[in-house]
Symmetry: D2
Subunit: 414 residues, 4 copies
């Protein structure tokens, strides 16, 4: 692995970007937690700061004095090795510290971090700082996801952010590209930052398969609904059917019950038939694929395509574009919508790669302990910072979860 | 009933007092809802305003224009006759309107109300306004109760209000006054405001009984704990024992597990052995009484005493004193701590008085529909506005509830 | 109180009657527990035996040897003073002892009891035996109630008992009798067995009131349903409305969703429009009364009528008639259906009478600890043994419970 | 695939074996359902009969008359294509049909099946009958598992079956065999019966690894407990830790809290230190492996070993031996306890093999719809019929489930 380089400018740019995401929001918007899995915005501002204070400053900068030691209990997320945890589902009850106090703490910690970086720390510590910045970027995406979910239960569906409106287009027909590949390698190369769960790079067999040129559209998913897809148990995994029945699921998250409109941070809007369907669970993606006579790709299939197709990268599909929503496909041949836009559900459970070992020390809990019961998504989304993306990146969620910006790309056996 | 008099000064005074209660609090403090039964502070500010807008201005002031009609759904509490309801346990998710928007609305509504009052409305409407002000005062008490409860789950037990500290004293011995009364009347006289549930005034028999001179102290309740009161099912009502086991109850609400300190809005403080024990449920009060070889008084017994003893009223026991906590008994003979201080659990279920009828119209739901499964408390508390108190006042809570300022006065069969 | 007389013949008759109730049932019928509050039939057979073994034989007959001491844990119902308890809602998991083993134990205990009775025990012990026989009769009613409820969730609604079919009639019009009474006494006289909760007999005021001549019919309740009674929150107590919404209640228990038929132990049958509506909760009875412009009687009102009206007792309304269902009113003037038939919901919470004290010793827990959150029903039912009935008898259930044979008699303020 | 051969003798033998398993049990034992996932014994007797009646006789034998068509609703397990389902967790409420009625129905269906088999049905139908017999064998194992679980909550831990006691031995040391294999095939060959989920046979890479010579013993698992394995979150998957905390798990299922004894169908017995630890969840197996510095094998690793090692098959490790419990390892070199004894948790999620397709028709729901959230176990157990076992057999359970006879074999990266 190459030596990472952390410079004050990029540290400041990434940290400030988090703050910029809440520029037009109010303390009340960032306080509430409507769902157990969606942390309040204020908590994200604090937890990302905790990460640097706890794992860098307290461990490696002897001169640093912790201004609020009692906050550690409440802003530790899930690191048992770092002490007691406040329950995730109760983050919304933390009225104190106030938002303004959290932001003042951020400023203190950032000043200390810049001083620390200027002291040219060891490579190992620089790698931890780099992890902290990647962690910061993950939370930028989570902050937007969680804010959206937390606001969505409000009966008045408030508009809290001004967002630009994209142009729609005309959907290109759904076609499949056939891959004859038989043997490939997946996993991160050692040429830049990557998470532990992308390692080790390893050899896998691929059976011949076909991959769809684009994501499934809202219109196509509407046909699935109209033709009774939500009411036919034979289309569903057993756990999916139980979930659908228990939770009375009959449309994508955020779609309103008129099946004509959806809720965004900027308020309710008409559905765009050409835009990709988003905020569906693995269970829904899998049922749709079965209904369509297809299946979802494995993560190895997805990564193989991603690594071997050129010319399919569109930088406007990431969060820096400002849209916070995935764009429709454009009318051209070839694979589209592969990177950014929407995370794509794969049929692969999130398991360790052969020979995987979690890192030593404080960050051992970062990824490995979640390798059960979750499914892999690939490709990044419209909420992902572009610099955070990698072809080997493995995102993961439980099969019933829907609040990430996730969609459907079909595959088939060839 | 006498004609009520509503003057602009008292309207403004009562309304402003509500705002003054939150003077030192922040938007985050007033946003959170930690328990289903405890509404956020912001919601109280809005709901009391809704009451005047909905029941007075919209009904009787044709020139009034509703500035935010969509807010009615979310700030109606439980009046089915007034339209749809937002679930009580989800009031904490309402990030919008912001606190500052709610306060601006209060100002608008108050201006309209003052104009309306100046037009000399009918007696019937004046009575509704008076009800609105009594309702406002009830919510002043609820606001403090709910704020306390909502903050109490914070692992750091934040201090959010500066409160004065009272002096402690030396407890006067517990004695009992014997009442030979056999026949009495209870219920509201028609000489001022009273709620429908205090009517009709009616005759009741009283068997000879004895009533304690003061409330049970924290020290006395500590003895109950030390001697195993929470662990002996034979002391408890069956429902109380189930509750105690299910919820792992082993001390009063807000007491910390060292049994030495308690949480107030001003932070944690040492217990005061001479101060009355507060924040106990009916189940605990009943078990304590059984352990002490006594019982709780009926509401008729309580009201009979209250109506026939003079010289027991201490104006410093109400919310205007600023203490927000009940004072210790003082060293003197005779009944004490009867009014204000702490609500006193009675052994009387909250049922309609013989011949009770709810009022007609919008306020029919105000009291009557709660006459099931709850127990009556009497006497007002340190959170009650003094002008809101009456001897015939019937407060009511479920037997497991503890977040009101409620305590124990013993009685016995004579 | 008179000296009780317990003779071997009546002991045997009462104990055998319990066994006769299960004559046509199978081990599987008596094993299942479908609802937490409904014990399996086998458990009733065992618990009533436990009562005699534990409270009489083990305490007062030194020569008695307990054949199965380990069964005490599982057949104690709610007597904390008698040791550990097996949870009520898990009685259905007790495959062992087998039904045949339980019945063999009954025989052993009965033989010992008869021997013990022949030794002419003390008055105090004879009173305990009498209590045990009253307890046995209570469980005869509970056994039938629980069996009915436990079977009712079976999707095929099995018929497990042959029951006679009564003749229907023509309902007499609903009229009200006016009572001018002002002062009366209620509670048990000391001239025979009574439970502790019927004491002390005490004086009460009664305001003038009216009482209905008969119970509300199934036809009348059907009108309430058709006119939207279940859908109008203004008719309901707040707790009742929450219950009705949460549990999706829209008709009496056992009524099928065609509103034409109902489930009995003998299978499904057409509703009888003239028969009284049964298996409704207090909440439903109260809502019906409000819809009808009336109210439910208090227990003092009910007992006052019951004690002062002669000629209204019909022995065919009790369990010995074999019908297990309440008969329609007959076409005649005057009060009807007062005793037996259906328990009648009163508006009185189940509270101690003034001066009440629970008995000392093992049976202190029999009644007193349930005096919270429940409502009183009066009058006995078609499942009650006739010898178990008294005018002062207080039955009690939670306001949402419906599996007792309970119905509606209206009252009004005069 | 070879043509299956179904002869009357083997049909009768397999069907009768199911009945023989309940020979010493009583109707009550087979009625109860203590846990939602564990069906009553009676239900298994009926459901296996339903399978033949519904999928063979009703579809292919025109002369067959269904004796109890109404039973189909309650004895269909999870085949949505075959009509409505009775909820799995409510099978214990089905008092009727009685056990004796179910057994009579079995006899009727078996007579019809034997007549049908004698008519030499088509190959496709014969394959369905073969599936029905495999299904029968699966339920023989489930019947014993469910009976054990259902009885285990009884506070008296009844002994309901006489079981032989095995001899214990001296554990052979734990060693690891190194496998250099790099490329292999897994999945069923087409030379006999196999389930759809074992297909298609396909090529997989194997990285070098090591596999333990035997299963982990009860003694070894006891050391894990004593050294705090259940209290160290860093040893656990995140979902596993949540489960362990929520359910207060601190020892294997059936172990008593003295950590000295365990509950079997024959009652409580001392633990055997040399016998393999059983009834642990995937979460526990995974935590143990991490504690031991090892990991669990993948299913491909397991199958590769199983297919290439000879001499490790011991017929006494299956249900026909009558022990219903796994034997200790014996003191010899080489791999042991591979087949029968205990199912072995693998680290492989239960997913479709590449190119997998569910069968057409009624049995499409048999396996495929469960391919989510479950983990694969391999190797058969002491409750498995020996003729039901195959090397390619994939059993699957949720990672928290423990009531199958499952244990731990460790693996390591080489």
């Amino acid at each position: 692995m190459l030596t990472p380089l952390i410079d004050p400018t990029s540290y400041t740019a990434i940290r400030n970007r988090t703050v910029s995401l809440i520029a037009d929001l109010e303390p009340e918007d960032l306080q509430i937690q409507t769902f157990p899995e969606a942390s309040p915005g204020k908590w994200h501002m604090a937890h990302t700061t905790w990460f640097f204070e706890r794992l860098i400053l307290m461990s490696f900068m002897p001169s640093y004095r912790v201004p609020h030691p009692e906050w550690h209990l409440i802003f530790n997320s899930y690191y048992h090795s770092q002490g007691q945890l406040h329950p995730r589902n109760l983050r919304g009850i933390l009225n104190r510290p106030l938002l303004k106090e959290v932001l003042a703490w951020r400023t203190q910690v950032d000043a200390a971090m810049l001083e620390f970086i200027s002291q040219q720390p060891d490579t190992e510590v620089v790698k931890l700082i780099e992890l902290g910045l990647q962690h910061e970027q993950q939370h930028q995406e989570l902050l937007l996801m969680d804010l959206h979910l937390n606001l969505s239960a409000h009966p008045l569906l408030p508009a809290v952010k001004k967002l630009p409106t994209g142009e729609s287009g005309k959907t290109v027909p759904l076609t499949f590209l056939t891959i004859e590949a038989w043997e490939t390698w997946i996993g991160a190369q050692n040429d830049g930052f990557s998470f532990d769960n992308e390692h080790p790079r390893h050899r896998v067999y691929l059976h011949p398969f076909q991959i769809a040129n684009r994501l499934i559209t809202q219109q196509e998913f509407g046909v699935f609904i109209k033709e009774g897809g939500y009411n036919d148990p034979l289309l569903w995994l057993d756990d999916g059917w139980s979930w659908r029945m228990r939770e009375c699921i009959n449309r994508p998250l955020y779609w309103q019950d008129d099946l004509q409109s959806t809720y965004a941070l900027s308020g309710t809007h008409s559905l765009d038939p050409h835009a990709p369907v988003a905020h569906i669970s693995y269970f829904e993606a899998d049922a749709f694929a079965r209904w369509a006579g297809a299946r979802l790709p494995t993560e190895a299939e997805w990564e193989h395509i991603a690594a071997h197709q050129s010319g399919i990268f569109d930088p406007n599909e990431f969060v820096e574009s400002g849209f916070l929503t995935a764009k429709p496909a454009i009318n051209r041949e070839g694979l589209q919508q592969f990177f950014g836009g929407l995370w794509e559900w794969t049929s692969s459970p999130y398991t360790p790669y052969p020979g995987y070992r979690p890192p030593a020390g404080a960050v051992a809990e970062y990824n490995g302990k979640f390798m059960c019961n979750q499914m892999v998504l690939r490709g990044g989304s419209c909420l992902t910072p572009i610099a955070h993306f990698r072809i080997s990146y493995r995102n993961f969620f439980y099969p019933h979860q829907r609040w990430m910006a996730g969609g459907i790309r079909l595959a088939q056996d060839a």
